[in-house]
Symmetry: C2
Subunit: 340 residues, 2 copies
C-alpha cells in the first residue's frame, strides 16, 4: 500500500493523499445515507452504512486511504455518558464530568462495547482495494476530556482549565482512564483490520506549552508507544492541532506528524522533518477555488519535495460546502505533480 509505505518513508511512485473528514457532508452520496437514518450517532452505530460512507471518498476521489467513519465521542458514549448532537450546537453532554464522584460513575472498558466500530472496519477492509489503506482513529485523551468536562462547545475551555490549575490530580485521573481506554480501543481496531491509526488532538491549542506536554502530548505518546511495541508495522499518526509554537518540545515513538494549516510546512520540516514523516497541510478553504488550490499545493510540494517523507492532506477537516469537483482536482494534482 502506497500510503503505508509513505508512513515508513519507503519509496513510493508518488506522494499519497487523503483528506481529513473526507467522508462527510460535502458529498451528496454521504448526505443521502445520512438522511436515511435518525441522526449522526445512528450512522456511526450502523456498520453497514458506516462502511458505505467510509468507502465513498475512495471511489469518488481516488484518495490513497480510507478513514473509518465514526466519531471521537463514542468513547465517552460507551462509558455511559448521555451524548446528544444538537442542531447548530454540535455534541452536548448534559451531565459533564467535574470531580472524582462523576468519574467513578463512568463504565470501564468502553472498548468492549464499541463492537459496531470493529464491525464497520471488517466490512470496509473486505470491500476496499488491497492497494488502499484503511486508517483507524481516536480522539486524544485531552480532546475527548474537554468535551466530557465542558459538556458542550466552549470558546474559553474555562471549566477544564480551571481543573488543570486547581485540581490536576483529578484531571490526570480522568486522562489516565481515557488513555487506557484508547490504547485498548486502537488495538481492537488494528485487530479488526485497520492498517494505520491517527490520534486527533483537535483542542491541543487550548493549553499553554508546559500544560500541553503534561496534560495532552505525554498521554498521546504513551498510546503511540503502546501500539508501536505491539504492532510495529502499523503506522501511528499524531495530530495535535495549533501547536506551531511548541514544535521544539515534540518527542516520542510514532511515525507521522500531521501538520495543521496554521503551522507553516517549512517550520514543521525544520523542527521535525528528519525524525518524522510529515502529513499535511493545505488550508481547506483553498478548495473553494481551483486556482487557490493549485497555488497552495505547489507551495507545499516545493517545500516537501516530490519525494519520501511527505503525505499530502488538508491542514484540517473538509467543510460541508466545499465543491467535490475541487477535491477531485486536488487528488489528481498531487498525484501528477509528485510522480517520480
Amino acid at each position: 500500500m502506497i500510503f503505508i509505505d509513505a508512513c515508513f518513508r519507503k519509496k513510493t511512485p508518488y506522494t499519497p493523499i487523503w483528506m481529513m473528514r473526507q467522508a462527510g457532508r460535502y458529498l451528496p452520496q454521504y448526505m443521502e445515507v445520512r438522511n436515511s437514518v435518525k441522526d449522526f450517532l445512528a450512522l456511526c452505530k450502523d456498520p453497514k452504512l458506516a462502511a458505505e460512507v467510509t468507502l465513498q471518498p475512495v471511489d469518488i476521489l481516488d484518495v490513497d486511504a480510507a478513514i473509518l467513519f465514526s466519531d471521537i465521542l463514542v468513547i465517552p458514549l460507551e462509558m455511559g455518558m448521555d451524548l446528544k448532537f444538537k442542531k447548530g450546537e454540535g455534541p452536548v453532554f448534559e451531565n459533564p464530568i467535574r470531580d472524582f464522584k462523576d468519574l467513578e460513575k463512568l463504565y470501564n472498558y468502553p472498548e468492549e462495547r464499541l463492537t459496531y466500530v470493529y464491525e464497520t472496519i471488517k466490512i470496509v477492509r473486505k470491500k476496499l482495494s488491497k492497494k488502499k489503506a484503511l486508517i483507524g482513529f481516536s480522539g486524544s485523551p485531552w480532546t475527548i476530556a474537554t468535551y466530557m468536562v465542558e459538556g458542550r462547545g466552549s470558546k474559553t475551555y474555562a471549566a477544564i482549565k480551571k481543573l488543570i490549575y486547581t485540581n490536576p490530580k483529578f484531571m490526570h485521573a480522568l486522562l489516565i482512564k481515557l488513555t487506557e481506554a484508547i490504547k485498548a480501543y486502537l488495538i481492537k481496531q488494528i485487530e479488526s483490520g485497520v492498517n494505520a491509526v491517527q490520534i486527533f488532538d483537535s483542542w491541543a491549542s487550548a493549553l499553554e506549552k508546559d500544560k500541553f506536554f503534561e496534560f495532552s502530548w505525554d498521554y498521546m505518546v504513551q498510546i503511540a508507544e503502546f501500539i508501536k511495541d505491539r504492532y510495529p508495522n502499523i503506522p501511528v499518526i499524531l495530530f495535535p492541532k495549533g501547536v506551531a509554537g511548541y514544535l521544539d518540545g515534540i518527542y516520542g515513538k510514532f511515525d507521522v506528524f500531521s501538520v495543521d494549516w496554521g503551522t507553516p510546512m517549512d517550520l514543521a520540516k525544520n523542527y521535525l522533518g528528519d525524525r518524522y514523516v510529515l502529513q499535511g497541510n493545505l488550508e481547506p478553504t483553498r478548495l473553494y477555488s481551483k486556482e487557490a488550490t493549485k497555488e497552495g499545493v505547489e507551495k507545499i510540494i516545493k517545500i516537501m519535495g516530490a519525494k519520501e517523507g511527505h503525505i499530502f492532506n488538508l491542514g484540517h477537516g473538509m467543510l460541508p460546502d466545499l465543491p467535490v469537483e475541487n477535491a477531485k482536482y486536488l487528488v489528481e494534482l498531487v498525484h501528477d505533480l509528485t510522480k517520480r
Copy 2:
C-alpha cells in the same frame, strides 16, 4: 508614566502591568454599572459610565494603565450596520457584508460619529492619576471584517475565507475602507487624550501565514506607521493573537508586540525581543489559583528578566469568573518581583 516609559524601553522602577479586559464582568463594581443600563452598547455609548468602568481596575487593582472601555465593533456600528448583542451568542450583524454592493451602503467617516468614545477619553484622562497611562484601542481591519462578513461568531470563518480565495479584490476594498477609518479613529483618540494605542487582531489565527501577512498584518502596520509618523511619542502596541508559527515574518514600525499565551515567551523573545518591547503573556485561567499565578509569573519573569523590554499582561482577556483577589495578587506580585 511608567507604562509609557516601558513602551519605549526606558528605565522604570519596576515592570508595569495591566490586563486585557481588566474593565469587565469579574468586577462586582462593573456589574453594578452594567446592570444599570439596557445593554452592553448603551454602556459603550454613555461617556460618564464608560469612564467610570474604565477607571475601576486602576482603583481596585493598581494596574499601571487604564484601557478605554469600548468595543471593537463600534466602527461597523457607526458605518451603519445593525449590531445586536445576543445572549449566549455574542455580537450579531443581521445583514453581513458580502460584496461590493453591500460595501457601498456603508457610511464613510465613522470616526466622526464616535464622539461618545472621545468624550469618554476626556473624562477618564481628567480623573486618572498623572502617573497612569490611558490606552486607546481599535480592532484590526481583518478582525473587524470577520464580524462584518460572517455576521456572527464562526468556528470556521468559511464565509470570509471563501472571499479571501475567490474574491480578494473585494476583501482588500473592505480592509482598505476599515484601515482608513481606524487610522482616523485612533488619531482622534490620541487627540482626545489617550497616551498609547493597541490594535487587537483577535482572529489573526484564522489565516494561514501568507494570507495573514497580506490580509491582516500589512494593514495593521500601515495604521501603526500612520500614527508613528504623526505622533512619535505615542506608543503603538500590536496584538495579533495565535501567530506563534508566523513570528519570523513580523515587520514594521511600532513599539510593542503583545504576546498571547499560546506563544511561548522565550520564542517571542528570540524572534522579536531585540526589535520590540514585548507585552504578556500569563495564561488568564492561571488566575483561578494563586499558586498557578505565582508559577506562571515567575516563569515569565525568568525569561524576560526584571528589566526593560517587558510589560506584564495576560496572554488574552480576563474571564468573568476569575477572582478579583487573585488579580490584585498578580499586580502586587509583578511589582514586587521586578523592583530594580
